[in-house]
Symmetry: C2
Subunit: 708 residues, 2 copies
């Protein structure tokens, strides 16, 4: 038996409860579309007052229908929805789509009604889409169980794109935009309030369809991170892509989203890190979603970022070359064989470097573009070719040029895109019809190509991730006894735990008396640091409980006494003792942390350390399952990285050791599971290359009750 999700994805029989005879009414549109697009499955209008609806036999109730029902649309007043769901459940309907609104988007009472829908659905193993949603459509079968007007604005073509959106209007806009793009739409869904079925499950369904190559997602709140991560893995395995526009990012946008769908604010930096970690490509606007889809729908895998620019306009070539670096592309170095072959075809005054300029000679020889393209396609040092055409008006043989572009697009290994600005519209339209990625904005074209190349590279990095070690978590139970009421370990206990994890913690000893402190300092070697150790104090420096650079016995003794006195004055209790430590070696301070996010699980924070961390907000978020290379990339993405790469007077610092620390730390906190709630290692000192990193201060919280 087909399950509810599969039924939603590709319904073969559709009942419409609240069916209207008027194909322009919400309860009538789906019936009209199913007829207009030629749906071959069964359609069952349900209306207690009519025997036919839009010329089709109607039923007075769902119970009357004596056939399998994959999907039932409910388009009745809000008050009647629950009853209809119950009937559908009894009747064995696999999934219901609730068009009706007036629920969770309105108020708390409405949200509670939605919860009842889910209870009913669970009872009958039925799935529910909505309420307050515009439905689903599968263009492979013309099964349009939706009321969006986008199915009447244009005739929606079947193809390689799936559109899954929390907003019905946005789903409609994406469909309209796609009308002028090469690929058609296999699946379309607008999920509304998501009482039961959400974006993630439908994305996962769409990825299982062999026809689908790209899923375009719009959402305002990212639910079911685990399901989405699973879908992302499925996409990666199949060489498909999820593109996501996550809105509700800024305070202004979050406020607007709250009043739109009641979406809760999410920390956008975490959302961003999550999407990146799972290879979900984030976009910033609707047009960019469609722009990227053109390139990502390509069956050719992205192999690298070496770009050849072929143009008929020197100026356009300059602009596109300018944008290479920002788009993450680089101009390919043409092989000598390529250069000499180009020199054969092109006039003496043409530029045969890269960009390659065929000049206005294309007017005289309309095969010139095809000839040079064939030469470029044979150069293995080129991953991507962009053909940048300016105007091409009267006098140009546009048919021939289109023919040649299409030919090379079909046969070349390199990714190809055309950017055509100005001139006759026929050229762009015909290229789109033939499935060539075609842009009319040079910036959009370059960003899409660059993102495709970097996506390919990131996919390789993700493939290098190791499975978590099977040894399981180190026992944390021994440490729970020393945690404070709020779950914090003292600095000493935190560091002992980190040492048991084989992480590079600064040498030190916990002592009680000034004499013991002096003895410890003697063992460590001067100068030393002396601090109060207590699980009850998390901000020691502010209270004067940290003394650094103690160079003599006298200084250590004095420090031990003054720290004890200040702790007494501040009423710190219990005091675990005094921590005497070596001075950590290093030029740059880094902060490393990990916290558990309620939606996304354990997230690691890597930041520039030192006193101005917060002011400069120079940080990267990464997930523990990242590979060491990805950790290295995170380090290199820090604003402070140029200083790490070449510290004045020292040279390169030990970023390899820092990457090792990140990888080891990640393995440990992943293995520790939910017992560790929060870790802050700050500062971590990074010394000169080959001299390692040292954790100088550490704070661990064990329980998992705290918020992010």
């Amino acid at each position: 038996m087909v399950d509810g999700l599969a039924a939603l994805y590709r319904p073969e029989s559709i009942a419409v409860i609240g069916a209207s005879d008027d194909p322009d009414k919400v309860g009538g549109r789906s019936i009209g579309y199913l007829d207009e697009y030629g749906f071959r499955g069964n359609v069952f209008p349900v209306n207690p007052n009519r025997d036919t609806v839009q010329g089709i036999k109607a039923y007075h109730s769902v119970a009357e229908i004596d056939a399998e029902i994959d999907v039932a649309i409910i388009a009745t007043p809000a008050a009647k929805v629950l009853g209809h769901l119950e009937e559908c459940g009894k009747r064995g309907v696999r999934a219901c789509i609730v068009f009706s609104s007036g629920f969770g988007e309105v108020d708390e009472a409405g949200r509670q009604q939605q919860d009842q829908f889910v209870e009913v659905a669970r009872r009958y193993s039925m799935r529910v889409l909505g309420p307050n949603c515009q439905g689903v459509a599968n263009m492979g079968t013309s099964g349009i169980a939706a009321f969006s007007t986008c199915f009447s604005t244009n005739r929606v073509r079947d193809g390689a794109i799936a559109i899954v959106s929390q907003s019905g209007a946005v789903a409609g806009m994406l469909s309209d935009i796609q009308h002028d793009r090469p690929a058609g739409i296999r699946f379309w869904a607008a999920t509304g309030n998501e009482a039961d079925v959400g974006v993630a499950e439908l994305v996962d369904q769409a990825l299982q369809d062999p026809a689908v190559r790209v899923v375009e997602v719009y959402c305002e709140h990212l639910k079911n991170a685990d399901l989405l991560a699973r879908a992302a893995r499925r996409a990666a395995q199949a060489g498909k892509t999820i593109l996501m526009l996550k809105a509700g990012v800024t305070p202004a946008g979050t406020g607007a989203a709250g009043s739109h769908t009641g979406a809760l604010a999410q920390d956008d930096a975490v959302v961003d890190a999550f999407l990146r970690h799972h290879g979900i490509v984030r976009v910033q606007s609707l047009q960019q979603l469609a722009d990227y889809a053109q390139v990502f729908a390509s069956p050719k895998p992205a192999s690298g970022n070496r770009l050849a620019i072929l143009t008929n306009s020197g100026g356009l070539g300059v602009m596109m070359a300018d944008r290479c670096a920002r788009a993450g592309l680089e101009l390919a170095e043409l092989r000598p064989a390529t250069r000499s072959a180009l020199a054969e075809y092109l006039p003496a005054f043409a530029a045969t470097g890269n960009p390659i300029d065929v000049t206005a000679e294309l007017l005289a020889n309309s095969r010139l573009l095809g000839q040079t393209l064939t030469v470029l396609a044979a150069d293995p040092g080129i991953d991507t070719i962009v053909v940048a055409l300016g105007i091409l008006g009267k006098g140009y043989d546009v048919e021939q040029i289109v023919e040649d572009l299409d030919e090379v697009n079909r046969t070349a290994e390199a990714t190809l895109a055309v950017c055509w600005i100005g001139g006759v519209e026929y050229g762009v339209e015909e290229l789109v019809r033939r499935g060539v990625a075609t842009f009319t904005d040079d910036a959009a074209c370059m960003y899409a190509l660059g993102r495709y190349a970097s996506h390919g590279r990131q996919r390789e990095l993700r493939a290098m991730r190791e499975e978590p070690a099977a040894t399981g978590a180190p026992g944390l139970s021994a440490w729970t006894g020393v945690a404070s009421a709020s779950g914090f370990l003292s600095e000493n206990a935190s560091k002992q735990l980190l040492r048991s994890w084989d992480l590079p913690v600064v040498d030190g000893h916990l002592v009680q008396t000034a004499d013991e402190a002096v003895a410890a300092a003697g063992r460590l070697g001067y100068p030393v640091v002396l601090k109060l150790c207590s699980a009850e104090v998390t901000h020691k420096t502010e209270l004067g409980l940290v003394c650094t650079g103690l160079a003599t016995v006298t200084e250590v003794r004095a420090a031990a006494e003054s720290v004890r006195t200040r702790a007494d004055e501040a009423g710190v209790d219990p005091v675990e003792g005094l921590l005497v430590e070596a001075m950590a070696e290093g030029a740059v301070e880094i902060a490393l942390g990990a916290r558990r996010d309620p939606n996304f699980g354990m997230v690691m924070l890597l930041a520039a350390g030192g006193v101005h961390v917060e002011a400069l907000a120079d940080f990267q978020l990464v997930f523990p399952s990242a590979s060491r290379t990805e950790f290295l990339e995170a380090i290199r993405a820090l604003g402070i990285h140029p200083v790490l790469a070449n510290y004045r007077g020292i040279g390169p610092l030990d970023e390899a050791a820092l990457a090792d620390l990140l990888a080891a730390f990640a393995t440990r906190i992943a293995a520790a599971g939910s017992e560790v709630a929060e870790v802050d290692l700050n500062p971590v000192f990074v010394a000169a290359a080959g001299r390692g990193v040292t954790i100088a201060d550490a704070l661990i919280r064990l329980d998992d009750g705290g918020a992010w």
Copy 2:
């Protein structure tokens, strides 16, 4: 008599030397266009072999023409151009346009030929456009002295836009893009090799035309900075705007530009600062040029950045609200009166905050958009209204909606733009026809509106600039005697000069002996700094010639001796003495400099100081004539600024004093004129608010022979 530039801008009689009977040939197109578009001036084809050309009486030479000739096009083989220029000069032609190519864009010999053109032109007070250019067109008179195919691809409308481009193909693309935008094109120019007339002079001409509101400029090398600055002032006075796409920015782009037009690399940070300083709005792509032009062509001045978003799609509202901050806009706080008026019109479930969502109720009441717009237009707290429409397909009264949008656009004081995504194309086309700024990309729409608002604000800041003081330059001649051969003043001389300019230099004394050093330290108060002073040493620290934190007589004496010894060892000669100085107070180090750029004159550099300045490249470039508020904005644009705004443990630092220093420094170097080549003040210490700034080190170079 009309001068050459004015003749180029608006030719009333046009001769075509090398006239072709074929309207598709380079020498024939202009004649065809002039006929097709209905030019009413005189057209004189010149061809030694024909009596008529394209049905018009032809002349065998320019000399034969017995009427005034404003402009002569030369479309002959390269070898004949010089002779024709000579003939034209003799004949009193006011300006020549050389279509012919094969000059400076090919090789040095070609560049020398161009120089001869200029010599001929000067001799006859004639101006020359090109060579290797596509010409000019004035759509107000249909005077098309150009061969671009863009005049045949679409019928170019007259209007408020001028297009001035170094590249002919790019000028053609801009014309084609403009075809789908509200404003028409008054003037079009492609300047090619710019042997004589360049972009700046034509921009200035265009701004003198009352019909022109926006000039779109494309260039690869910015020549004649002074002329461009003058044009920018003219634009500001008339409330007009110059939009500029400056290409050849990155190494890749610069390389491409070099092979395209032989353009030289320019420091893009200086170009950027120059454009900003003069209120020339820089754009990044051709589409953005046209996008911005839509908004900047508005006769309504930009009054602020408070935006109201009116939409029929909650999702679109969220996306546009999200983009506010990045676009430099903020959501307007609606007045209570506005809110209650909105509540009257809108259904209970509609969002009446900002964004305002009219919901699908617009389907039932097509006046709803117009009604809510009228309410918003009456709210004085709203500077800009964006109407964000998603789809609007079957069932919507698009005619009514367009009517209402047009009405409010004409009558409201606020700037208005429409972003319409999806749905029937008629709506967008009709709004464009009526001159409403209309976008189909939400991101592009918001960036254009944001840039318009910030341009308005920057225009106000520029208006606050003071005229340079009339007192003239302080005498620098006294200092030239102490400069080194390469023009460097010693640190002491540099600081004395800065003190004579009333800038806050750290206290100090130049001494010769250790005893004098100790005496000086006593006068200043301990601790002190001691450095070698010599115009021959510019990197003292690396040679161990700077000792800081000297706290006792013994330390000062020892430092004096060791510095003298090290200077001897390093062979420093002549030595001016030892500089004993107070320790400057301050938490953050800033670097402040000024250098003379060959194109753009004196440019000031403001940067984060300290050891990592170069690694982090955190700097702003400003020009001396900026106002104090602009200097303050430059300080606030530094990446390090959050640290200045709230230094941990100290609080806000004295950014007011830093702005004062920038303003005073700017006045002084502006008054000093070309005698000062370069100044480096590094570090400048910034202390806590109210405690000022102190220049701790300074280096001045007096001659102006050095390169930037």
